[in-house]
Structures are given as C-alpha cells and as structure tokens.
Symmetry: C2
C-alpha cells in the first residue's frame, strides 16, 4: 500500500520505519518542520512537504501521527483538500475516532491505528511486542487496518472509542504515574546520598512478578499489612513534602480498600 | 561461619539457601511453626527448633528474619538466653538498628543485614543482582558483615538507620505503590473487557527507559504536557471512583510541580 505519513515525531518515525521494513511504501512525509519532514522522508525514501495543501492525493492510506490537539485541524485540511474518499486514520490513544465526525464530517473513511507503546527517539521500537489497537467506521476499512497491523505485530486488537479511552487512562496509570513514582524514589535517595541503582533490581522484580499472578495477588508492603506504625513513620519522614504525603495517603488508602 | 537462622519465611528461605550455596553453614533454623522450621532446616541440612529458649549458643551469627513487629521480642529472648556477646542482626529495611538498644540493651554486638528485594515463595532469588545493605554497632562487626554480604552479592552498601529509613520509604514508592498502579490498570481494563497483557510491553518499556536517563527526563503524558483537556476527560472517566480520582489528582499535581 502507498502510505502518506502526516507527522515526523517519534510515532511517525518508528511507524514509518516498520512499515517500510515490512514492504509497504511510504510515499510522502509531512511535517510543519520541513527539515524534520525531509530527514524522515530521506530515510524512508519518500517525498516530503511542509505544506498540508501539498499532501499527495495518490496514497491509499493517510496516517495522522501528530500531537493530539492538532489531529482535528489536520483532518479539516485533508477534507478541504478533497480526500473525502481516502482512508484516513490517527494514531492517538487519547483521541476518539469521533474527532473526524466533529471536525471533518465529509471524510467518509476514517479510523484509528494506535500502537500502544511509549516511543522515544533513542530507543529502537520492538514492534513484535507492541499491541496495535485498530478501529474504523466501516467494516471493510477495519479489515484492511487489521491486515496492515498484522504485518507489524502479532498483537492486534479491535478497540472502539469507549474502550480505547479506558485503555489510555490505564496506560497513564501504569506508565506516566509509575514513572513519577520512580522519580520520587530517585529524589528520596538523592536526599540520603544513595544511588538510584539500588532500587533497580526491586523495580525490575516488581514487573517480573506480574508473570506469576495478578497485581492484586502480588501486593506487599505496609499498606496491605495494615502496618500503621510504619505508615505513620513514613508520613513523618515526608514532613515538609505535602504533595508526597498526599500521594502516599491516596495510594495507601486505595491499597487498603480496593478489592 | 556457623549461622542460626531465626525465621523460615521468604527472606529466611532465600537467604539460607544462598548462604549454604556459598559454603556457609546454617546450623539451626527457628520458626514458631515447627513444620516450617523443619522443612527449611532439612533443605539446609540444619537443626531446627520451634522454641526460642532452645536456640543454640554455638553460632557465630544470629540472623533474625521475622516480621518487623516481632524483631524486638526475639531480641529480648536472645538477650535473656545470654547471647549478649554474639553477633545478632536483623534483615528488615523498615526497622532501625536501634530496635536492639531499646528492647535488648545488653546485646553488645548488633547489626543489620538487609537484602533489598521483594522475595516471593515461587520465584528464585538472583542474589547477584540484589543489593545488600549492612550496618553494625561496631566497626569490626561491620567489616565481618561486609565480607559475608560480598559472598552473596557484588552490590554491598553500608547504610545506617537514617539512610535505610529513606531507602525503605523509596522502596515502598517504587515497589508497593507501583504495583498498586498496575492493579488499577488491571481493574480498569477489566471494566472495558480488555486483557491486562495489553499493558505489559508499556510497563516493561517504562522500566527499560530508566537505563537511558533519570525518571524525570523520561516523564511523558498529559500531566507533564499540561494537557488539561485530557486530564479533565480522565477525571470524568473515573466518576464514582473517588479514591482513583484522588490518586490521579495527587500524582498529576506532583508531576506538574516537582522539579
């Protein structure tokens, strides 16, 4: 398939590389930043443009991999470019497919192609392990997206707007919030002049244990033991850090009451 | 060295196995539960007892690996058994060495031998990766504990009561609290009839990224982007779940303000 890639950030870059690798053809890369567009386009042996008015009309599928808040305006431009019968998808977990109905109601063939991973510039993406969540207005497009996704990953899921919203929220808890807990641990150790690497085996083991049972079954620590003396000592240790105390209390309360 | 192991739970079991493996001799295992004591003792080719009054006086070191709240009473019993010139250590991250001064002031040679890991019954412990944090009242005992610890792990740290309290608090954040965030993710996905395995690659990547930079540098998501629309949508999705909303808010606030 001929693919137009709208965006040149982390998602567009890793997706573009993998699509090319499995034999799909990226025909054009768009970015508002012409240099970024050219750089990715060169790598993918594609054309490039920094002008949404110059998007090719020859692609089979248009993949919008831009910031969430720009998806609507890109869709509008594609609509006014007359691409109303082309398959147009976005890659966002946080954005409903309905964004297309609201901002570009004349687009007939729309969908979502959401690779559930936190991509970074410097780390290679292992698509073989990345779930791809797809959705489309039409069944035919859904099937086409499913086939395309299966070329990239064995883990393809049909996930509609409602489910994807919950999935994205869960991802915030296990990725963004977890990472912040790592930061808190990092900062605490710094105050005691201890290296963060002390915590790495524990962090890795916490994840590895998920293979043995549900997280609820794996819960340990003062909260689940109702060890109020330790909890009090910890809250006291966090004196002068009301935000950390709030996090400590909210998570402890939740551990003690959620089934 | 001859070692008396007081306790037969996860820490005692994994520690006892490793000590035996590196050529130390566990001479006796104590547990209030005679069957558990016998089972571990048999594995380690040691004697066993369920009576603290019958603890041998021939060991070079007594390792107390029992629940935090039982350490003081065990120390008291060892003191009244007359083991006042024997090296006695506990394995708890949450308990100060001072527990010995308070409950058994006649014990002369006391210390801490804290393997920083979350041990579980079914998973083997890879001591080569486990930091061991040691402390002792006397320098000579400190050096002895250091040598013993180095036989088990290349990662040995001298950590006093003040630092260990902070370390244990940090461990609660990155292990117990992180695991609870996994549970929340698990429960959210269940409400949407999605499998938890969808989140595993993201969870693993979040940890893997810690090799590339500090957690603060790796932070992504709506909070750090100040994406108030997504934050509002998430809070709304959590309607009827005040505890999850409290966690979401406390972590979001902290991400937005902590340097």
């Amino acid at each position: 398939m001929n693919i137009a890639l709208i965006g040149a950030g982390n998602v567009a870059t890793h997706l573009g590389r993998k699509l090319t690798e499995v034999g799909e053809e990226v025909v054009q890369v768009f970015s508002r930043n012409a240099q970024k567009a050219k750089q990715l386009a060169d790598e993918l042996k594609a054309g490039f443009t920094a002008d949404l008015g110059q998007i090719v009309d020859s692609a089979d599928i248009y993949i919008i991999a831009v910031n969430d808040d720009a998806i609507g305006s890109v869709a509008e431009r594609l609509e006014s470019n007359g691409l109303t019968n082309k398959l147009i998808v976005h890659t966002s977990g946080a954005t409903p497919m309905a964004v297309f109905y609201n901002t570009a109601p004349n687009l007939q063939k729309v969908g979502v192609f959401y690779p559930l991973q936190s991509f970074s510039k410097i780390r290679p993406a292992d698509f073989g392990k990345i779930p791809i969540c797809i959705d489309a207005r039409d069944l035919e497009d859904q099937q086409l997206l499913e086939k395309l996704a299966q070329k990239l990953s064995p883990h393809v899921y049909a996930v509609n707007d409602g489910k994807r919203a919950v999935l994205h929220l869960a991802a915030v808890f296990v990725n963004n919030f977890t990472n912040h807990l790592y930061q808190i641990g990092h900062n605490l150790l710094e105050t005691a002049d201890l290296p963060f690497e002390l915590l790495m085996p524990l962090i890795q083991e916490t994840v590895a244990k998920l293979n043995d049972g549900s997280p609820a079954a794996m819960q340990t620590g003062p909260a689940v033991r109702n060890d109020e003396a330790t909890i009090r000592r910890h809250i006291n240790l966090l004196e002068g850090e009301p935000q950390l105390q709030a996090i400590y209390r909210s998570l402890t309360n939740s551990i003690q009451t959620i089934p």
